[in-house]
């Protein structure tokens, strides 16, 4: 299920899987996929299960099937490091190719995969630093500008209710800008009460749309712990 959120006057739909859909443009955005994070850690001695790319691709396949977008935009850090594409398994590579078929695919470069220009040649799609369409601008690192849809921060919110503490990934948004949740299977979260978010939203209050199993739950950031 999705929640209707407006950014810079543009009606958007936030999906509880963590993807963002722009109906008018038939555009689907996801952020911080961090493909091959598992194998990246393995190279450094932590042998995490090598199934994260497949798991992320499966989730991505789900939202793409649901929305059937004309354009898919990935908001940066799509790979955990610049050698990620070389470690993709044959079957994951094929799955990715399948998802790209029949639609535009735009990889926005992040800080982890800064060499996206080169990488895009290996894995299909086109690369960009930012993407501006109408009032909206898609980029990786948020600057707080009006109309911005960004990633990088992996927003997560915590509320306390009935003596229990609940943490979920979330969309952080106010009327003018949004920071998307991280989509990757192994991605962690940064609390929206961290000052990095204050740098984006200033002293204005903003909403945390927490991802539930079947829908999103909206809380004002001030109410979160």
């Amino acid at each position: 299920m999705r929640a209707a959120i407006e950014v810079a006057g543009v009606p958007l739909e936030a999906d509880c899987a963590g993807a963002l859909y722009w109906p008018e443009e038939e555009l689907l955005a996801v952020s911080d996929l961090h493909f091959e994070k598992g194998s990246s850690y393995a190279a450094r001695g932590m042998l995490l299960p090598p199934y994260d790319t497949a798991a992320t691709l499966a989730a991505l396949s789900g939202v793409i099937a649901q929305y059937d977008p004309r354009t898919v935009v990935t908001l940066g850090d799509s790979f955990h490091d610049n050698d990620g594409p070389s470690r993709l398994s044959a079957s994951d590579r094929a799955s990715l190719g399948q998802l790209q078929r029949g639609r535009d695919w735009i990889w926005i470069a992040g800080n982890h995969d800064s060499e996206m220009a080169r990488m895009a040649r290996e894995i299909g799609g086109v690369f960009a630093h930012t993407l501006s369409i109408g009032p909206l601008t898609f980029r990786h690192i948020p600057e707080g500008a009006e109309g911005e849809i960004a990633g990088h921060l992996h927003p997560s919110a915590r509320i306390s209710w009935r003596g229990r503490s609940i943490v979920r990934r979330c969309f952080a948004a106010d009327a003018g800008r949004m920071v998307m949740p991280a989509f990757g299977a192994y991605t962690g979260g940064l609390s929206i009460r961290d000052r990095a978010f204050a740098a984006v939203f200033g002293t204005r209050d903003f909403m945390a749309h927490m991802l539930g199993g079947r829908r999103l739950y909206a809380f004002s950031a001030a109410h979160c712990l």
């Binding site: 001695g45 306390s160 192994y186 962690g188 609390s191 961290d194």
Partner: protein, 867 residues
Amino acid sequence: MPPADSLTTVPLLPDVFQRWFAQRGWTPRPHQLALLEHAKARRSTLLIAPTGAGKTLAGFLPTLVELDEQRHAGAPRKTRGQGTDRAMPPRSSLVSTGRNVARSGGLHTLYISPLKALAVDIARNLETPVAEMGLPIRIETRTGDTPASKRQRQRRDPPDILLTTPEQLALLLATADGPFLFSSLRRVVLDELHSLVTSKRGDLLALDLARLFRLAPQLTTVGLSATVADPAELCRYLVPQPPAGAAQADLVVAEGGAAPVVTMLDTAEHLPWAGHSARHALTEIYALIKLHKTTLVFVNTRMQAEMIFQELWRINDDGLAIALHHGSLDVEQRRKVENAMAAGRLRAVVCTSSLDLGVDWGDVDLVINVGAPKGSSRLLQRIGRANHRMDEPSRGVLVPANRFEVLECTAAIAAVAQNAQDTPPLRTGALDVLAQHVLGCACGEPFLAEELYAEVRQAAPYTSLTRADFDSVVDFVATGGYALKVYERFAKIKQTKDGRWRITHPLVAQRYRMNVGTIVEADMLKVRLVRSRASKHGYAGPIARGGKLLGQVEEYFIETLTPGDTFVFSGEILRYEAIVEDEVYVSRAADEDPKIPSYEGGKFPLSTYLADRVRHLLAEPSAWRVLPDQVREWLDIQKWRSLIPAAGDLLVETFPRADKSYLVCYPFEGRLAHQTLGMLLTRRLERARLRPLGFVANEYALAVWGLGDPALAIRRGELSLAELFDQDMLGDDLEAWLAESALMKRTFRNCAIIAGLIERRYPGEEKSRRQMTISTDLVYDVLRKHQPDHVLLRAAREDAATGLLDIRRLGAMLSRIRGRIIHKELDRVSPLAVPVLLEIGAEMVYGEASDVLLAEAEADLVKEAMG
């Protein structure tokens, strides 16, 4: 006591020892001599002895005697810091490398204790007789606190006797010095063995013992233990097990002291229905403290300890020296309390199980146990600490905190009178511990799979390990154990041409050594004192630099607090300011009323044995004579309004209350198993469209409430209690729940850390848990979906069977009550249900479908906003 001129002492004890005993006015005890005899006969032995029976001396006497005899026989000896006799090759040529190199100069005796403080204290105590007898024996300790330079020197130039912890032993075996240090080993003394074997630490120690037996075939072991239910199990633990059948060490049981005198406080105050604070009894507890020299006041949880400590000081008109001791306090502070106790300067110490193990502390003459003791063995061991003169009875007083606990305490007193033990059976060795051990072995020296498998199976907890499981573990250590074989080039260990497994890079060994150990701390945050700052926004950014460390507190607790909330810790009232990395910053808030923490309950649920006794006590109205009036009255009314269940039945009551319908059942299987049952029952009730809203569980009961009426559904034939409580809930329902269960994820995380999948320490940096950029919850989710039979998931399931989820116990209960469910339909709450219902608000709500909570919270805020 045997007469001093007994003929049996002559051949065993050399002169210098006999003289030393005589000088002290002591006679060697029978069990001490028995251990000497067994040692001479080269037999491993288990000694079961109460505190104060000279256990330590019993353990070390064989070693001291042997070393003394060796000296007389002209064998090379270790002098302090210098080289050895001419008969030995000069020290400089004693380079420790490789296998099959027999060097003299290794250790003679190893002493292992669960606590590093214990190892240090015992060493100190041992120095006295050694010095007094003039024995040239080198005794040293090795713990996490031993400076690196000393530890390095110990590997090159080890003492005769080394006192250390299981973790240090694992570390030593993971170096190339293992063969040098241990091939000369004659004896290993294992202290507090009963407490070591109940946990994963015991598994790791067993594996290391098996390795020691291989390195030193002439080795014998001595186990020192309190009384246990099945000594034969400990006897097996002490010796290598053959491929078929079992081998055992010999058993020596010291003559017991006088039987303990345990009573229950018959309070004049009103007995609460629920709660665990025992506030009502504080004046009476204080009065008891005044009557005795030194009293230990045991409680079940840290929070209770804090609370009782606060309350006692409030009424401490006589200014008695009362101290606090629990595991979350700063180490310095704990040591201060321990030293003050030993010096006899304290009148009372309020403590948790943190003081269960330890050196003889002399003049404790009363043990008060607040709240129900969770097991009879645990209680016997605690009471045993009071009054360590063998011929005088130890004294204990039980203080039940509520009416139900009166039943538990009554059962416990009866158990003590029969000296009934309820220690748990020996564990099956954990696979995550084995993984850590396999890597450690590879770090020590390359191994052949067949040989290591045979060695591992000699460890008692691992006798039934299959070759397939062993190979899975080796595969896990090498490349993670994944069906998808993509990590060959990142392997930690590899098989070389000779078939041996060896580590692929020295960094692997370095990282192993930084992370060894099986104790995984619950998610704790360090508590640091700062100056108060009125923080409106509560940003977790830089804050004025913190001051003193007060100890640690559970992360789950802090997570429920808002900046500004206050709580009790370390004897004071603190205000929560902020969390910065893995520390929680607090300031002093002396004037305010502290927030009452939600009660997580004790660490240990009621033991199966005691639970059974309580059920029988309850089922037997004629036995209620011994109970206090208030409790008897409660049960009489229950009998009249509802019914008293027979010991083997499961009573299920249903009744309406305030617009909701309640279903309360009384399994008596402990809080943990009940919580799991609650999770599963609510799923089933949801499917039966009874719209459950929440549940609450305590040690003996489980209450579920909801919008649908179960009584009506039962009358209509739409709901069958037999089906509801069927064992098949442990199938699909359990699986589905385990996917989301926070407790299960925590269990998995512990396994991942122990097995070495997640390393918390890297060379050059300390990655605290909060800084770890990968959450094991995410790994759990992905692994469950893609490789559900992965060795770590299996290890976690095994843990869940008995740990936080207590699934095995739940299964046994469901089996026991088949066909024996008694339903009582009531029109109002029953007396027996009152205590568990009073826990509502302090416990969890419906499942962990926290989406339900999110929805509620959101709706509440909306309502608030809309006015």
